[in-house]
Structure formats: C-alpha cells, structure tokens
Symmetry: C2
Subunit: 450 residues, 2 copies
Amino acid sequence: MASITKFTLCLGFFLLLSFPLTLSSPLHLRSSKNAPRFLADFSRTINNSRPLKYSKYRYETRYFDQILDHFSFSDLPTFRQRYLINTEHWVGSGQLGPIFLYCGNEGDIEWFAVNTGFVWEIAPRFGAMIIFPEHRYYGESMPYGSREEAYKNVTTLAHLTAEQALADYAVLITELKRNLSAQACPVVLFGGSYGGMLAAWMRLKYPHIAIGALASSAPVLQFEDIVPPEIFYDIVSNDFRRESVDCFNTIKKSWNVIASEGEKNDGLLRLTRTFRFCKKLETADDLSNWLSSAYSYLAMGNYPYPSDFLMPMPGNPIKEVCRRIDSCPDGTGILQRIFEGVSVYYNYTGTVDCFDLDDDPHGMTSGWDWQACSEMIMPFASSKNTSMFPAYDYDYTSEEELCLENFHVKPRPTWITTEFGGHGFKSVLKTFGSNIIFSNGLLDPWSGGR
Amino acid sequence: MASITKFTLCLGFFLLLSFPLTLSSPLHLRSSKNAPRFLADFSRTINNSRPLKYSKYRYETRYFDQILDHFSFSDLPTFRQRYLINTEHWVGSGQLGPIFLYCGNEGDIEWFAVNTGFVWEIAPRFGAMIIFPEHRYYGESMPYGSREEAYKNVTTLAHLTAEQALADYAVLITELKRNLSAQACPVVLFGGSYGGMLAAWMRLKYPHIAIGALASSAPVLQFEDIVPPEIFYDIVSNDFRRESVDCFNTIKKSWNVIASEGEKNDGLLRLTRTFRFCKKLETADDLSNWLSSAYSYLAMGNYPYPSDFLMPMPGNPIKEVCRRIDSCPDGTGILQRIFEGVSVYYNYTGTVDCFDLDDDPHGMTSGWDWQACSEMIMPFASSKNTSMFPAYDYDYTSEEELCLENFHVKPRPTWITTEFGGHGFKSVLKTFGSNIIFSNGLLDPWSGGR
C-alpha cells in the first residue's frame, strides 16, 4: 500500500525496530477442531509471570469513566478506562504542545507502553505529552467490574469492538483537552499491529481529533478478498527459507512425521516426551499448533536485536532457530531437530522444565478470540507450494461454526470493510486519509496485509 | 461555512428551491413544562390525512434485513429497512452509472422522496440510479415489528441514533452494489436538513462509500457553543421584519397580550374561541407554542412558490402572513391580527373548522423528540433585542431534566461534536471532507448552523 507521507517524520525504520508486532496468529484456522489461540494469551502469561520493571519510562496511571456503548443509549453501566500519561516534556497548551496518543491494543496497556520506546524517545524533541489509553476489555479496563464478569457471555462481551474502542479514545482525548484548555493542541496517533489499525482507522474516522497517524505493522487490508489469504504464511515461510532452505524443508517435512507418529501406539506419549510437555498430548494437532504458533511469533518478532516482548528471544531469532535445526549431528531425527529449534522461542532462557499447552480450550479468556470471531474476520490459508506449513484452504463456514460454538456469536465477515473501507483503499487515502504513515518491515508477516 | 466544491455540479440554487427544510422546531426549549414538539408529528399527520399521489415519480419499494446494532454484537433482532429504488435511467455498472442516494431523515421516506424533485430531475441527465433508504424508527422501518413496540421505552429506542442510521446506509449500499456487481459505480449522497447532516457526516465517515455529498440546509454546527444559540430565532425574526416592521412588532407584542389574557377570568376560554381550538386551552403557553411553531415552519418553508410539504402554503408565505396581519381594519386587536396571520400556515385551504393542539404531551410518538433528548442537543435561545419571540436563555439543566422525565434518557451534549467534529470544522473540511456542498438560502433559519 502506498503510504501518504505528508506527515514529515521519517519514522519507518525506527518504528520497525522499536515496535512489537502483535495481533493473533491465524493458526486457529488450520483445524476447526482446535480452539483459536491468540497473542492475548501470551500477553497474559507474560504479565502474570514477569512483572514490568522498566524504570526508564515514567508515567502516571489515571482512570476515566467511559461509556460502554457510544452508539446507542442503552442503560448500561460505565466502566473505568485506564490510561497512562506523561506530561514532563509537554510544552503546554500555550505553545500548542502536541499530544502523542498510542492506540492501545489487545493487551495490558503497560505492556505496550514499555515496549514502545520510540514514542518515549521522540516526545522530548517535540515537547509532547504522551498518552497510552488502554483498550476496553483488556488489562484493567474491564466493563462490569472484572474480567470474569466482562467475559462471561455474548451479552457482556458484545461491546468489545474496534469502533467502540476508537470512540473511547475520541471521548477521552476530547475531555482531557477540554480540562487542560488544550483544544488547539495537535494530536498525533501511534499504534502497532492491531493498535496500528486503530491508529489508521481513527485518523480516517476522527480527522477532527487527530492530525496524523503512524500505523506500524497494521494489516488493514487483511480482510475479505483484498489480499491473498496465503500471504501471511508465505511471508513467515520465506523468513525461514531466506535463512536456510534445509531449515525450511525440515519444518515442512515435520508435519507428516508428527501426524504419523501420533497415530502409532504410544506415539502421543513419545511426542510428549520429545517435546517435554508437562501433561500428555491429547492429539498430534495440539503439538502442530504449538509449533506453528512459535514459527509465526518468531517471524513477527524477528528483530535484529534481542527482545523481551513476546518471549525472551535473541537478535535475529529465526536465524538462531535454523542454526539449531541445521547444526544437529548427522542422524538426528526431524522431531529432535524441531524441538531444538523451537526452544529458541519457548525456552531461550533455558529455565523451563516442561511446557504447558494452552489450557483454555474455548478461548473464552482471550479478548482477541472474541474479536476474531465477531468483526476481525481475516481469511488465512496455507499454500501447498509456497508455505512450510501444512496446506489448508480458507473455509469461512467452519470458522463461523467454531464461533457459534465457542462464543454463540455469528461473525460479520464484511463489516470491517464496510465500516472502514478496504477495497480501493488507496484511492480513499489519496484524497482523504492524509497524514497516515503505514510502516512495516518486509520480514513482518503482517506486511502482506498492508 | 465555506463549501468545498470540487464536486462540479452547481446545485445550490436548485436545491434551495426544491428541498424541504425539515428538522424540529427548537420551540420546546421555551418552557421546560411543555413537551417537545417536532416536525415528525406533522409528517405523521400529513401522511395519515393526505395520501401521497405523486404519480410523476415512479419507484419500487423494497426491504432489507438490517442489523439493529452495528457497533456491538448484542443478540438483538434485525429489522426490515424500507428503501425506494428507481433504475429506469441507470446506465448500468458496465458504464459506471452513478448511484444517487438520498439519506432519509426523520419521517416517512415517501414523504421525502416525493418532495425532493431535484434528485428525480437530474438523475436522467447522469444516467443515475436513485435510492431513498428510510431512516430507522421512521415510516415503515420499525425495529421490534411495530411503531408501538419500537417506541415503547428507553431500551427499545436505544438504537435510534444518527451513527446507526449512517451504518444502515453504508451496509445497504454495499450489499446492493455487490448484488449488482456495481462496486465500481460512484455513489453521490443527497439530503436536506437532518438528512443533509447525515449526507455530510456520511461523506466524512464513509469516504470509501460515497464520492460526494450535497448537504442542503444542514445545520451541522448547531451544537454546543459553535454558533450563537439565538441565531435560529433571529433569522426567523428577520424573515418577518424584512417583509414588514409592523408585522414583526405585532408578533413581538402579542406574547404579553396572550399571557395577560390567559390570567384573566375566562381568558383561556376567550383565547380558545379567538383561535378556534376544538378543545379549551389548558394554558396560554400552549397557544404561544402553537404560534411559535407556525412562525418557525413558515420561515423553514418560505419558498417563492406554493408548496405542500409542511402544510399547504402560498408562495412567499411570510409575505402573505404579514399582509394579513397588517391589512386588518384599523382598530382590529392584536390577537385577531395574529389569528388572521397564522391561518396562512394552519388553514390556507380554508377547510379547517377548528384546530387541535398536539395531543401527545410526552412526545413519545415522535422519534425526533427522542433524538433531541439523546444526542441531537442543539442549544437554542431567544434574544430580547433582536428576536420577535419571547426572550429566553438556553438552559441545559432544565432540558436534561425534561429528557430524563419524558424518556428516562440522559442527553450527551458533547457527543455529536466528538463523533463528527464541529469546532474547527472548516479546517477539517479543507484537508479531509472533499466534495461536500453545503447549500442553503439565507432566509432559512437553519442557515445559522452552517
């Protein structure tokens, strides 16, 4: 997609380096028997197990009483939206100090705040205020008082949508500016991945509120038939192939080995031991999903420097995975090689004794699972010829069945493009969506959707 | 407001002539004791009593299953949205025939269709398809199966909002274009008054769906403190003063005469007889409201030719009102003069024996009353110095109380400007809202809000 870059900062490269790539793995579509698995699960794990201790970014935590339903007048309770704010560099309303607003995505906002160094780094140069509002239904910003209540059923989850989240940001910033008599101060949006989609959409829908947006790794075209559904897995696969064709081929061959091993007597037990799971595998598919997840996240986090965002990983982690897979002694079996490789993702620190599979088979605790079953309908497929993943076609019908089964919700597969556009997006951006930078690196699998 | 007129048709003058000016009268704010009275009541009356027989406009009536809540995934029933369609002049998708879409406003869509001659007149010249979708909660497009159910309470009325109506239009047109393989055909929006606001907002919010909008008499700035709250009644008053200063003064004096008459013994009975009401007046305020309504609608419909939209009226009806007021024989009392004048509005055909006041004191049957109590919060006041109406200040608190009392809904007075903009609208239009024509005549009282 052509970027409209009147907005004069040249941020692309920095942002690629400093922005985490989130969003779900499309993995769940491999088999409708498997529950969806998304990044939000990982974020929870990370936040629970490793408290945030990034003293270098200082912010105040505040809360704002937010309307749960902006677009109708239902008599619903409000909820407390959390936002992080830093005003130490702000030159004030008198000097029209800008406001940098990061559009919080599908996780605890502190997680995104401490992993978005770029915004913190440039704010002093612009005399900017920094605000990180949290996305509703994530982190502490829970309607109905608690995560448990908010995620209870289709009725309580109903208002977890992108449009409502954008309206939250619009209302919050308008109110905040009013209180600070800062109505004339320009607002610049930031966001990565889903947050990047929100930043771009917000600039399109609320041009009176924000003067520009830096939308990093934002696959706003990954809907309907706009881009080929194979593109995500093709890019992941290419990321591995460019490091090593052997590595690519080992992974590509592994799926059949896993499947046939799983069908043997005691095969699942042997797979459990090889991959050191804490509990016995129930199906070989569970293992394949666990592996596919790792490859996708490795591609999303394939930074040239060590990072600690998704999991602790070395710099150029895919290079490291392939080095381990390829450098096993001759005669090492495929499964053992795969285990050595994937440990770069799941156990780089070497502290894990045994691995747990996701213990939430219905995905009810993950907000992204809900979003992916309601409006974020992104078709994914895997090509027999170009992908290292098992081949599969996109099958909307089974996806819909899964959503009805898990969430009692019927997806609206054409809604996002109706609401935000998509087909012919370039022409809209040319005449309308000024000051939006779409940045990404070409190794990023989400670059296919931009 | 400066119009951005890249859209090359020069339509302003035609539209002023052919477009009805609707929207509510702001009258209800004169006294919080009085229930709001809006145009939607009149439209109902008109449609019930005078069937539409405009054979010159041919259209097919169709229905579309519409989602009641576009912005959340509540398990609500869908509703049947009515739309009128004419394809006889359409040159087809192969030739990229344009689609003219009128954004239905607060009333039966047939009423707007037959009173929007301009769209019908220009369609053949452009080889255009014409679509008139009806606004939800009006005409036949009733959620919950019937008007009675839809207007039952705050819960059923909750989804009567402008944002939901815009989404209706977006979904309908997207689906229709898909079915016709007409995705590449340009859509041009039309709308007058509230429908004009919808057309402008739709172009801003859905630039990927419509390439331009002709927003006629659309007071998109009549919110918060953007324009002075006195502007509406000042323009109405000036419309009368420019015809005759005597007429203006007679009306200005009449309010005190009515009030003091109402306080006398049998005063209400005398007022009832003078103004030929079918039932005895309960308060003098009811009469004042009835008169104020007429003056506002006369200004809204002050066309230079006879019209039959609001009520049957002669051309230049204000000139005629003032002629009657001024030409009474010397010695005629103020009240008799006022009655002669207002009869131009309420009884131009001379067929009315006695007049009924609105018999719906809680305004529950009028959708616009609900909208004016939820998001369409337009401040109105009347200036002691420049208006012919009784002086009053804008008092949001009493307005809010009235809404809580009548509808159990708390208005959101800053929501429309947050959602659609308003402050600094010009700068947004310069860089964003291309191809929107805001047209109006300066006699139109709603021109103050543009």
